[in-house]
């Protein structure tokens, strides 16, 4: 379902290519396009506004690196901001409590609560080896209790019986008592669908919450939801201390903007996605993957990759030229690469992309983390131009001075020199056809249509 959003954003951003330097006006136009794309993907307007503001703010302050056009730099800001909003890590269910751990489901009518209870029961039983009980507090929807019973039977979870003439809170209390008595690990509580503006029903679910003190209160939302996701998420988030979100029906082709809306408005992590009607169609939600799914498989990340690859390409060509002229790879070159990497964000992501870096032994790579980047750059900065060009002259006293200048230790200088040596050895190997071959290798990693012959001439 997320591909369409990618496509849409991809097209938008493609338009940026081939433009010269973007003026503020150009950024405005581009941002409007991004705004439209997000809205078409059903991201709620207030969320879109917030996102665009953040992007604008970050973009306007940003230095444009290398051969990137300002528009291309903007792509990266949009990408980063989306990743930032969706969060970075998967957040698992929290069951760390005196059993039974209670999970309360809440959401609009027809969102998929009852189905999700069945899926979660199966997941907890099979993957987490938990003893699971389910109960329905839905005394309103015709055959809702029967539906849960059927679902529970299907996944072989204990079903706690309830009747339509009972009070939901009474049902919940009885189920909780039974769960304790039967040493159940997890009690899943299904509730009736309700509108956020139905004050009576919202009061009821608050009562259910206080009767159960659930460790997880999951807001279930249909991924096809439009702008109303914002209102609803806000209202449920206000009424209940939500702990997470389940995004259902992602097996369709909805663009899934509701995922962004609900994430931003509740501030709660999306813990699972529903991807079908059957009881095994439940997937852990990995925000980083989804961010890259929203942007990922489609063109946007490709474009960002293209952008970074383009930088790599320009630099690589420069290096290649240098080396063909017989010039050595010096510390200035190293610094340039380091700066490039630092300015492009995370180390790990960038490492493989940069020419030369891909060939560095894993062990050497492992020594480098983002903080070390800054250190290494600082070290080079405190060297004289001569030292940078001829690292061989670096002996004890110079090393001491350089380390002190960067606020670091002599051993840090040694590490830097070792890394430089490794790299320059590799660069030498690549002299001649080596570089070209390597660039071709890099090209192979890029998505089709991006780094192809038309996209990057001369490679």
């Amino acid at each position: 379902m997320f591909d369409t959003l990618s496509d849409r954003l991809g097209q938008t951003i493609k338009k940026l290519r081939g433009q010269g330097r973007l003026t503020e006006d150009n950024i405005k136009d581009t941002l409007r396009e991004v705004r439209m794309a997000l809205l078409e993907a059903d991201v709620a307007l207030p969320v879109v506004k917030q996102l665009i503001d953040a992007v604008r703010e970050k973009a306007l302050g940003q230095e444009v690196i290398g051969s990137l056009s300002p528009g291309q730099a903007l792509i990266k800001v949009v990408n980063d901001e989306l990743v930032n909003v969706m969060g970075e890590n998967a957040v698992p269910l929290n069951l760390a409590t005196q059993p039974p751990a209670v999970i309360l489901m809440a959401g609009l009518q027809g969102a998929g609560k009852t189905t999700t209870v069945g899926k979660l029961a199966k997941y907890l039983k099979e993957r987490e080896k938990k003893k699971v009980m389910v109960v329905s507090c839905d005394v309103y929807r015709p055959a809702a209790i029967k539906q849960l019973q059927t679902v529970a039977t299907g996944v072989e979870a204990t079903f706690f019986e309830s009747q339509v003439d009972q009070q939901p809170v009474a049902i919940a209390e009885a189920a909780l008592a039974a769960a304790k008595k039967q040493f159940v690990d997890v009690l899943l509580v299904d509730t009736a669908g309700r509108l956020a503006i139905d004050t009576e029903m919202m009061a009821e679910i608050k009562q259910l919450h206080s009767a159960l003190t659930p460790i997880e209160t999951l807001f279930v939302v249909d991924s096809m939801t439009g702008q109303d996701a914002a209102n609803t998420a806000a209202a449920f988030g206000e009424a209940l201390p939500l702990t997470g979100v389940v995004l259902t029906k992602t097996d369709g082709d909805a663009r899934g903007g509701a995922a962004l809306s609900v994430r931003v408005i509740t501030g709660k992590p999306i813990k699972f996605i529903g991807s079908g009607e059957k009881s095994d169609a439940l997937e852990t939600f990995y925000p980083d993957r989804i961010a890259s799914r929203i942007l990922g498989m489609g063109d946007v990340v490709s474009l960002v990759e293209e952008v970074t690859a383009k930088v790599d390409h320009d630099k690589a060509e420069k290096f290649a030229k240098k080396m063909q002229k017989g010039r050595a790879f010096d510390l200035n070159d190293l610094k340039e690469q380091l700066e490039q990497m630092a300015s492009m964000g995370g180390m790990a992501a960038m490492m493989d992309k940069l020419p030369g870096m891909a060939n560095i032994p894993e062990a050497a790579k492992a020594q480098v983390n983002d903080k070390q980047f800054v250190h290494m750059i600082a070290l080079v900065n405190s060297m004289t131009p001569q030292e940078r060009r001829f690292p061989a002259i670096l002996k004890g006293s110079r090393k001491k001075r350089i380390a002190a200048g960067a606020g670091l230790q002599v051993q840090d200088v040694n590490k830097l020199l070792k890394q430089h040596q490794q790299m320059s050895r590799m660069m030498k190997k690549m002299k001649g056809g080596g570089m070209k071959k390597m660039m071709r290798g890099l090209q192979g990693k890029m998505p089709p249509g991006m780094g192809g012959p038309g996209g990057m001439p001369g490679m």
Partner: protein, 387 residues
């Protein structure tokens, strides 16, 4: 099928003010011998292989125990239910668009932008909103529109021009065989509930109704429909869960024909429009129905969740491509969702909007009317605070 006969226009909102009575009179004959009809129902049921569960005995059972305390207290009778439903729409109308536009503020970019935001937040969609705004902008430029009040009127005109053509109520002609309504849509959109409400409207209008439990997939879908059948005292044709949907509906059609039922409403399992095999299954249902009556189904109604965003357009389009839709019902408009995506659907498919759902109760179904729908569309409440 004789053209001169009065068509039975199903008008829910009219029932509240007693205008349904003329329909009742048309059907009085049938209504009055209802008792004997039920008896013969039982006989028919015994003869067919199909299980007919909501016959006399079941109905009584339902009245005694099965019927849940329904619809969150909106059960104090027809008038109250419908009034409450209409009230919902009307109060939204009063609070929103008009208040916002009635002042004579000068038209500036802020005002237009605010209007645009309102349309977007009502799920009208970017493309449709742009179109609406640009023709509004043209009116402003031609100085036909001078202040915000005039702008409000102009917007209303624009919107009405888009929706009025699809304000086509469902009419049940007096025909020889049963009028068959096939109800389809994505998961959880409100199909079964809408059928329950529809059955009530039809019986109130003096028509005899039968339901077919064509959702043989989802857990307790049959029981859900049976409860609605019992509530309305109409028979429900069902086979076990897992049965072939087309064969259930086929059986129901045979039974409805045999018993001289006026309206057969067939439920189907929710399915995403992207699931080709499930769309084929619907095509099969249609084929099977047309074997018993080449003109059936007479109405293929898609039920759309009013909270759905732009995906609704793909839903309508793909269901239409697969089985040919003739009408639409938009549900869950009693909440904060506005259902603005119907503008885009109206434009691309011209699909008549028959009903709107405004609650979970049996009376919470209204005949679609473009004007109150539009007036409820634009909300000027403070936008949601984004933390």
């Amino acid at each position: 099928m004789i053209a001169s006969r009065v068509n039975h226009v199903i008008r829910g909102s009219l029932a509240a003010v007693g205008l349904f009575s003329f329909l009742k009179r048309q059907k009085d004959r049938r209504a009055s011998d209802g008792a004997s009809e039920i008896t013969s129902d039982a006989a028919t049921a015994a003869q067919t292989s199909v299980e007919i569960r909501a016959d006399t005995a079941d109905t009584q059972l339902v009245e005694a125990s099965v019927e849940p305390p329904p619809e969150h207290g909106i059960d104090a009778g027809v008038e109250v239910g419908l009034e409450a439903g209409l009230g919902k729409t009307r109060s939204r109308f009063r609070d929103n668009l008009l208040n916002f536009l009635l002042g004579d503020k000068p038209i500036d970019e802020d005002l237009l932008e605010e209007l645009e935001s309102q349309l977007i937040m009502a799920d009208v969609g970017v493309v449709a909103t742009r179109k609406i705004m640009s023709s509004l902008g043209a009116s402003v430029a031609r100085s036909e529109v001078g202040d915000s009040a005039a702008l409000g009127k102009a917007l209303r005109r624009e919107l009405l021009a888009l929706l009025k053509p699809v304000e086509v109520p469902l009419e049940i002609p007096d025909q020889s065989g049963p009028f068959v309504i096939l109800v389809v849509g994505v998961n959880g959109s409100g199909k079964t509930t809408t059928i329950g409400k529809l059955a009530r409207q039809m019986t109130e209008g003096g028509l005899s109704v039968m339901l077919a439990a064509g959702d043989t997939f989802r857990a307790a879908a049959v029981e859900q429909l049976e409860t609605w059948g019992a509530r309305n005292k109409v028979p429900v044709v069902a086979q076990g869960s897992g049965a072939d949907s087309a064969s259930v509906i086929f059986d129901a059609m045979q039974s409805a024909k045999a018993r001289g039922i006026d309206v057969l409403i067939a439920d189907t399992a929710g399915r995403l429009h992207t699931q080709a095999n499930l769309m084929d299954e619907l095509a099969k249902v249609k084929r099977v129905l047309s074997k018993l009556d080449p003109t059936a189904p007479h109405e293929t109604l898609i039920v759309l969740d009013g909270g759905t965003g732009q995906n609704a357009l793909a839903q309508a389009q793909q269901f239409h491509d697969a089985i040919g839709l003739t009408g639409m019902a938009v549900t869950k408009l009693d909440g904060t969702a506005k259902g603005g995506v119907v503008f885009a659907i109206a434009e691309s498919l011209g699909l008549p909007i028959r009903f709107i759902g405004v609650g979970e109760g049996v009376f919470d179904l209204q005949v679609f009317e473009a004007e109150p729908f539009i007036d409820a569309l634009v909300d000027v409440g403070a936008p949601v605070d984004v933390a």
